[in-house]
């Protein structure tokens, strides 16, 4: 009996020693590569998001290394897969911080996974930049959490400006998905901005994700004779809404947000979405030299047109590299300050500055659906 106790105790101690003894020295060292962690959904429900951001980030890091790295040291990207699982986002963030000793974290796209991982970055005092989590709460976790994209409320305001100023609409109807935080946020800010600009919201109708029948709401909207209809939902419902609206003889343009950014919008909507507009992070056919160069290089490397996630991943990595160079050190708190001080960084998705709430302030683009494709319409500056 006692013998067994001793064996057990010895085993436990050996385990504990083995676990603690694994401390390495890399991130803080002065000569080796600077490690950057990326946690992403490379597999699972939203695998395309993670793969795109990883492609974008990898491209940026390779470019920087080709120019001789930053602070005289090359960058090393460590990507970990979280299988699109909420709690695994937290473990991967911990693994990157504790075992790989990364100087900063990039990730995640889904707001829920960013929310799960952000407290770990905050606690370890390692800056984290989410490429594409648009929910306002993500950066409220703490002062080490940033994002490279604009937040939901901003897009709502952008489309209100666009509707009022570019289309010249006076009367707009809203049809939003009341079960999606995203859609509710966009609708709220659209309403506020549009009314403050002297416009009138003539109808405020709602639906739920998964609905396939919108004729009741659309018939009501038709009766109010709007100049445009704001539909801040995801592509599946947006496509169906456009189809049914045209069937009911509604010819005014439909307006949407970045939830429309998918080829599925065109597949489902067909000719019905022609002439509609939506706000997005970037336009692949923009006339900006930065965008053109990025799209060409991306296509040469990965054989496809980059989506918004790839662009945002590329820009998130770019913001980090820019801050590393300005901070002159990989020290967490100093790097955090440098990221917070980001001003007019020339990103592919626009010129980026960090606002005091650690959200990227930048322009949005409006995309027009024309001839069965997405086309750059105009840029709506940050305000």
């Amino acid at each position: 009996m006692h013998g067994r106790w001793r064996v057990g105790l010895a085993l436990a101690m050996a385990l504990a020693v083995a676990a603690c003894g694994r401390e390495q020295t890399s991130g803080a060292g002065a000569t080796g590569p600077i490690r950057v962690g990326h946690f992403a959904s490379l597999t699972g429900d939203t695998a395309t998001f993670g793969r795109s951001t990883d492609n974008g980030i990898r491209m940026k890091i390779e470019e920087v290394n080709a120019r001789g790295g930053v602070l005289g040291r090359p960058l090393e990207l460590v990507t970990e897969d979280d299988r699109s699982i909420t709690e695994e986002a937290r473990t991967t963030a911990q693994k990157l911080v504790q075992r790989d000793e990364v100087v900063a974290l990039l990730g995640e796209v889904a707001s829920s996974r960013s929310l799960a991982a952000a407290p770990e970055a905050q606690r370890a005092r390692i800056p984290m930049i989410s490429p594409a989590s648009t929910n306002p709460r993500v950066t409220q976790v703490g002062d080490y959490v940033f994002r490279a994209c604009f937040i939901d409320p901003f897009q709502g305001a952008v489309m209100a400006k666009f509707a009022r100023e570019t289309i010249g609409a006076k009367r707009v109807a809203i049809l939003f998905d009341f079960k999606q935080d995203y859609s509710v946020g966009l609708a709220d800010f659209f309403r506020k901005t549009f009314q403050s600009m002297g416009g009138e919201i003539v109808a405020d109708e709602r639906y739920t994700s998964g609905d396939i029948e919108f004729r009741a709401q659309l018939t009501k909207i038709r009766g109010t004779r709007p100049d445009a209809i704001f539909v801040p939902g995801y592509y599946t419902e947006a496509g169906l809404i456009a189809k049914q609206a045209r069937e009911l003889g509604i010819t005014v343009p439909l307006l949407g947000g970045d939830g429309w950014d998918s080829t599925r919008t065109l597949e489902i909507g067909g000719s019905a979405v022609e002439g509609d507009f939506f706000s997005n992070h970037y336009a692949a056919d923009s006339d900006s030299a930065l965008v053109r160069e990025f799209v060409e290089k991306y296509r040469a490397k990965y054989g496809e047109v980059p989506d918004a996630m790839a662009v945002l991943g590329y820009d998130a990595a770019g913001i980090l590299v820019d801050a590393l160079a300005r901070a002159g050190t990989t020290d967490g708190p100093k790097l955090r300050d440098a990221i917070a001080a980001t001003k007019d960084y020339p990103g592919v998705s626009g010129t980026i500055s960090m606002d005091p709430q650690r959200n990227a302030r930048k322009d949005a683009v409006v995309i027009e659906i024309k001839d069965g494709g997405f086309h750059y319409k105009q840029t709506v500056p940050a305000f």
Binding site: A19, C20, E88, T91, K95, Q98, S111, L115, A116, R137
Partner: protein, 332 residues
């Protein structure tokens, strides 16, 4: 319980409290998280073993009860408990205040899940085999989607277990003494339940429901009992999950989680508590241990499952227990 039994329990409690305070200071938080997850998986797997392994009812909706426990205890902590914890922390040192507070949060989660288990179990357990499996799966999804529609716990945004208006109350824990104490209690309670003379009725129902009923075993009642006890511990596991993660989202309790728990139970051996413990520990750690393999890691994980089931179709331990005679002698 005999005197030596009490001494063992007291010694275990002391060791666990020491671990709770010491280990977070010496162990890398990444490993600490995995060790905590293993403890929680053990609790959930052992509780499911009672239903699937010992009573022979094929439930594939266990994650639904974890969800109830997680959300109820999280809401309890955020809206009610944070004030109490703050009051405790004012008079007691940090770890002790939490030791005093956690039983309440865990009980809230456990009791809520047990009630849910009763409500679901009474109608569902009149079904058998495949029908029961589908019904439990359905109920788990109903629970998950119902939570998704409650705005007070964040809905689709998820729910952070932190009370902004009580800065003195740190609701999260990193020490795993608490988790392992609960795991120990779960194992002891369930093993004493199934290996007692009254516990024979569980196994009687598993072997042949009609024969059991013919000799006076109230089959439906026995099944509901097993279901309620299992739901209680699943709720406690959920409560621990919520407080150690600090953020809960309904995605964590989707049917894949239920399925994972069934895998723990089947792989460990239907009808073996230590088997469930072993399988839960190995399979929770495996995805992290295999990280070095990059994108092949889940392929290897799946292969591991397939090979184990081919080589040992009865599960790792079959219906045997590992070293339990000793522990039972000590506690009995």
């Amino acid at each position: 319980m005999s005197r030596s039994g009490w001494i063992t329990v007291a010694a275990c409690a002391l060791v666990l409290l020491a671990l709770d305070v010491l280990l977070p200071r010496v162990l890398n938080p990444y490993y600490a998280t995995i060790v905590i997850r293993i403890g929680i998986a053990v609790i959930a797997a052992v509780s499911l073993q009672l239903v699937n392994g010992f009573t022979g009812q094929f439930s594939i909706g266990h994650a639904g009860f974890m969800a109830v426990g997680a959300y109820v205890s999280a809401a309890f902590s955020v809206y009610v408990g944070a004030g109490w914890l703050e009051a405790f922390a004012a008079v007691l040192p940090g770890p002790l205040a939490r030791v005093a507070y956690y039983p309440m949060a865990l009980a809230a989660g456990g009791v809520a899940a047990a009630v849910a288990g009763l409500v679901v179990g009474i109608p569902a357990l009149r079904l058998r085999g495949d029908y029961l499996a589908i019904a439990t799966l359905g109920f788990a999804e109903v629970i998950r989607i119902a939570i998704l529609n409650v705005d007070a716990v964040g809905g689709a945004r998820g729910f952070s277990v932190a009370a902004a208006d009580h800065p003195g109350a740190d609701l999260r824990f990193e020490g795993f003494g608490t988790v392992y104490a609960v795991a120990l209690v779960t194992i002891v309670v369930i093993s004493r339940l199934v290996y007692s003379s009254g516990g024979l009725s569980f196994r009687a129902v598993r072997e042949d429901e009609v024969a059991a009923a013919s000799i006076g075993v109230p089959a439906t009642r026995v099944k509901v009992e097993a279901f309620v006890v299992a739901s209680f511990f699943a709720g406690v596991a959920g409560a621990l999950f919520a407080h150690s993660e600090g953020y809960v989202h309904t995605n964590s309790f989707a049917f894949l989680r239920s399925f994972e728990l069934v895998v723990f139970v089947v792989l460990g051996g239907l009808g073996s508590i230590t088997g469930a413990v072993l399988a839960a520990a190995v399979l929770t750690a495996a995805p992290e241990l295999l990280r070095g393999l990059g994108e092949w890691r889940m392929v290897l994980y799946s292969l591991l499952l397939i090979v184990t089931m081919l080589v040992r179709p009865q599960g790792l331990l079959g219906t045997r227990e590992l070293g339990f005679d000793w522990l039972r002698r000590r506690l009995g």
